[in-house]
């Protein structure tokens, strides 16, 4: 309704409910998460391993991904940022670290949280491992992993092989 400037604002919420399908090619990934496993997929053409397997296709080759590949659980930070900005719906205490993590055996990185260390200690090449939520809270989602934390292993030098991430 009318505000200070005399102009009307109409509230017009819109919402649609869909029946969303993950598709056959990403389903094994989600099923894996329900079992506490990181399941990616390999491109039959270029052999890159995708985790997550996105839409079930290799965007480079335009081929349906073929075999399931278990990756991780440990991985390496390829890049990160320190979040200090409060926003609506935030669930985590500031500041926190959002990082791209290349799971061992995967060729593209995925995003997750880094906790259990000071934000300023996080660095590219740092080795990390997942901390899973209590099993009773698991669903078909990467949120089963509460966060990743440093393993204490020596850093891995991210070379040319991380180029696909």
């Amino acid at each position: 309704m009318s505000e200070a400037d005399g102009l009307v604002r109409l509230r017009q919420p819109i919402g649609v409910t869909y029946n969303w399908s993950a598709g056959p090619n990403a389903t094994s990934h989600l099923a894996g998460l329900m079992n506490g496993q990181f399941v990616g997929k390999r491109c039959p053409s270029c052999a890159l391993v995708y985790f997550p397997p996105r839409n079930g296709v290799c965007p480079k080759c335009a081929k349906i991904l073929a075999g399931d590949v278990e990756v991780g659980p440990k991985g390496t930070i390829t890049t990160f940022c320190i979040v200090n900005v409060p926003f609506l719906g935030q669930k985590i205490k500031l500041p926190y670290v959002a990082a791209q993590i290349l799971l061992d055996g995967a060729d593209i990185s995925m995003q997750h949280l880094i906790q259990e260390c000071e934000a300023e200690d996080v660095r590219i090449g740092m080795r990390v491992e997942p901390v899973w939520k209590d099993k009773s809270e698991w669903g078909a989602t990467l949120e089963n992993v509460q966060h990743f934390r440093p393993t204490g292993e020596p850093d891995r030098v991210m070379g040319a092989e991380s180029g696909a991430s």
């Binding site: 649609v16 969303w20 399908s21 090619n25 079930g56 296709v57």
Partner: protein
Amino acid sequence: MALRDIAIVGTAQRPSEVNSTFTSVEILLPVIQQLLDKVKIERSDIGFWCHGSCDYMSGQPFSFVSAVDAIGAWPPIIESHVEADGAFALYEAWVKIQTGEVDVALVFSNGKTTSGPIDQILSLQTDPYMVAPLKPGFDALAALQARACLEAGVVTERQMAEVAARSRRDARNNAVAYTKGNESADDLLAMPYTLNPLRAHDCATPVDGCNAIVLAAGDVARRLAERPAWIRGIDHRIDTQRLGARSMIESSSAAIAAQKAGVARDRIDVAELHAPYTHQELLLRNAMGLSESTHINPSGGALVANPAMAAGLARFAEAAESIFAGSADRVLAHCTSGPMLQQNLVCVMEGE
């Protein structure tokens, strides 16, 4: 500037399904591969890719970005997207080829129409102040138009039922079609109203589907197809968004688009009209001046398979295929968009 000769040289369509469990990318990818194989070209031969789809169909913001996975954007490609039916993507690709920058374009479109309430989703494109808050479905808006046509004597319920009966019969010969039947117009007239004055068969069947088309210029087209479907005229017109300010009993935008596309210059053997409601086919035939000798929608049309945002491009595919097969020499492909035939794109194609 002289226009370049541009033709459709190949098409591929996915058979319609409902409640598909495949993602949009998984639906598209095999169809695009099938088309490339058919035309015997590689992805690297495509100078321009153009995609038609709508995020509201897939329930995924910026879904067209991930759809690029279906065409393989490595090394980087020239790609564009229209938040509209693939027929409008074809129009953009035609313009792109006209600029002389590229000779070959691949146009594709997809619609996972059955994963959401399509009748309500389509209404989100109506006037956001005066119409959308009332939540009229698209079927209801079409029903208002149908009533006006019936009362004015522009169409009859029997003519509408005949359109449905013919479409369902013709669909039996089309692997892509979904709704098929052998009912007579009398059988259909005996059915109850669903949205009086419309019956279920007066409204298109929402399906999940996708399709793709290759366009090429001049000698490249002649090399890629035995009998290319040459685009001789193409035009797009839009009526006012204000529902009450439009004539309910004629389509002036379709009439102008048809005239500009040169429909009347010679006989039309086959017309593939994108008419999601039976009375709209009758309105379009009137607006474009199509005669009794024109075979309307031999594919069964959008009534029997309406993948939203792909059903218009499907009309181009079907019309071009009749040129390829030699069963027609001069064809018309049409796409509509918006409530009550708000927008109309008309294209005339010829074989050599």
